[in-house]
Amino acid sequence: MMLKIKDGGNPRPKKINWNLLFFLAPAIILIIIFFFVPVFLTFLMSFTNMSTATGLTGFKIIGFKNYLQILKSQWTLKILKNTLFYVFTTLSLFNVGTALFLAIFSTHISENAGKFVRTLWLLPRITPSVVYATLWTWFTAEAPYGVLNQFLSPLGISSRNWLMSTPWVFIILINGFVGASFGMLIFTSAIKNIPPDYIMAAQVDGASTFQTIRKVILPMIRWPILFVTTYQTLSLLTSFEYILLTTDGGPGFYTTEVWALYAYHNALSNYYGNTLFGFGAALSVFLVILGIIFSIIYLRVFNFRALISEPKIEV
């Protein structure tokens, strides 16, 4: 029954670790091509006048002209204001506010009712954006089609296309109904992870449900709240899909245009057919830099050392 032992005396000469190559090469190659190279290109292109007209070869290096143009443009301030308004309002009202309300409410009613609320509110997130946008355009459409007008006309409010007459309200609602579910899920799982002992202790001490929420639950989920706030700030700053699908920045000139959409319009789809890759890239650079800063902050906030324990096998 003796098994033969192979000779393992001499240390193996250094050679390519095929195992490691197999496991890591695909991921690393894709990440380099579609993260690193684009970041690099975005910076480079921002110093050129590359556009549909110049093509990928006929462009010139124009230094900081794109950036100067951003500074001088009459629209920059307007778009910056739009962006800040959009991010701040959606974030506070929905991505954090409604999310918190839904999480607390749905964990303080019967288990099944709570599940129902959360399932329903997750629906906008998993609905294809195109379908979701259609739902809202119809909801806000003119009489006799629009659902909203049907509700409001008995109250004596005159019929109109709500998306076009009060665009910001609906941009925020449309994004907010999607955005609320992220925080809702994070907060719900945080609340469910609070050891019941704390809540029972508060009950024994005579706290009402509201007092328990305020004095026990909210303080205990302050980290998730901070996390969702910062994380969603970044998401909102760079998101433009739902705006593109509903108002497309309008009505009129840049009424609901946000920075990310402005960059997209200039670089990849403008009304004149000549898309300005260079100028769009310069606009994107601001978002890329913000993204990098935020991401590095996350690395600090995530307890990095706790996440990486040493492997226990060394073969």
């Binding site: 029954m1 032992i5 192979k6 000779d7 393992g8 005396g9 193996r12 060394e314 073969v315």
Partner: protein
């Protein structure tokens, strides 16, 4: 298969988990690596298994150095603390797994699995079950069968009994020892339980801080502990160990125990005790008590009694000292009773101030 560890070290960053270890395990021997958690015993086992690579030093299997050999090529079988059965395979597939990797024929695999199942006394009915549906003892047998089925030269056992309840642990202890003797397979068992080590091992290597403190038969470790660590670690209830001073008065030499009482020994013993400050150790079974007052006995007060069934463990207070003594269970004592204590001087151990045994 003989195993030799030569100046074996394993460092994790600045931590020296195993520190210049030298140890020989003889062909067919059952060796136990014993020590408190974090002493490096499991690391040593994983080095032998090839799951860790040594920082320095050599591992020999027979005459061959195997430092860089993959675990799969070492001809070892291993049982883990958690049994590590593959949850997605049934018992049969678990046991057959090493054989399928050796590309054996189906009929051959079937024959070998049935053979080993009988050998470890596993119920054949269980073969279709998933590991999750088995009791701890059954899982243990499956793990043993899987480790032994390919006929390894070396069997490695990592705390195999610690997840079993007390009764089952006794059964499996006997059984593993029996299997090992039947197969004559070189076996290394890692445990923190000194009773397990004493009962199972041909020899025990007691480890602390990545170093071997003492290697020897259970009898040697129990009766001739080489230092204070071994003395304190082996034996349950543990040895009484006291900070003591040697002195001389009108009646001759004495040992003053914890500034509380004096013990007198034959003159020849003091010829070896050269230092003034020593540690005195004595096992509870060598401390006897008497209910009758006597002049040459030390008096003490019963602090608490702990009935152990067959006998009683007495904790007796003498001055500042708390002393453990084993007494027959029919002795009737309770806290506060006065007793007289006798030390069996032939069984006293002496250690110098660095903790090393002073040979008498």
């Amino acid at each position: 298969m003989r195993i030799l560890l030569e100046n074996l070290s394993k460092h994790f960053g600045k931590v020296r988990a195993v520190d210049s270890l030298n140890l020989e395990i003889k062909e067919g021997e059952f060796l136990v690596l014993l020590g408190p958690s974090g002493c490096g015993k499991t690391t040593t086992l994983l080095l032998i298994a090839g799951l860790y690579k040594p920082t320095s030093g050599n591992i020999y299997f027979g005459e061959k150095i195997v430092n860089n050999l993959s675990p799969k090529d070492r001809g070892i079988g291993m049982v883990f603390q958690s049994y590590a059965l593959y949850p997605h395979m049934n018992v049969y597939e678990n046991i057959a797994f090493p054989l399928t990797l050796m590309k054996k024929s189906k009929s051959e695999i079937d024959k070998m699995v049935r053979e080993i199942v009988k050998f470890v006394q596993l119920d054949e009915e269980l073969l279709e079950r998933r590991p999750g549906q088995l009791s701890g003892g059954q899982q243990q047998r499956v793990a043993l069968a899987r480790a032994l089925v390919k006929g390894p030269n070396i069997l490695l056992l990592d705390e195999p009994l610690s997840n079993l309840d007390a009764k089952l642990r006794l059964i499996m202890r006997t059984e593993i020892k029996h299997l090992q003797k039947q197969l004559g397979i070189t076996t290394i068992l890692v445990t923190h339980d000194q009773v397990e080590a004493m009962t199972m091992g041909d020899r025990i290597a007691l480890m602390q801080h990545g170093k071997i403190q003492q290697v020897g038969t259970p009898d040697e470790l129990y009766n001739q502990p080489i230092n204070l660590f071994t003395a304190g670690f082996i034996g349950s209830p543990p040895m009484n160990i006291y900070n003591s001073k040697i002195g001389k008065d009108d009646e001759g030499y004495y040992v003053l125990v914890e500034e509380s009482f004096k013990l007198r020994f034959p003159e020849k013993i003091f010829r070896e005790l050269k230092e003034e400050n020593i540690f005195l150790g004595i096992r509870p079974e060598h401390v006897s008590i008497s209910l009758q007052p006597s002049n040459n006995l030390i008096s003490g007060i019963v602090y608490v009694t702990e009935p152990l069934g067959r006998e009683v463990l007495l904790n007796i207070q003498v001055g500042k000292v708390l002393l453990k003594s084993i007494a027959p269970q029919n002795i009737k004592l309770s806290s506060g009773d006065k007793v007289w204590i006798n030390f069996d001087v032939n069984y006293c151990h002496f250690f110098d101030k660095d903790g090393n045994r002073i040979k008498i």
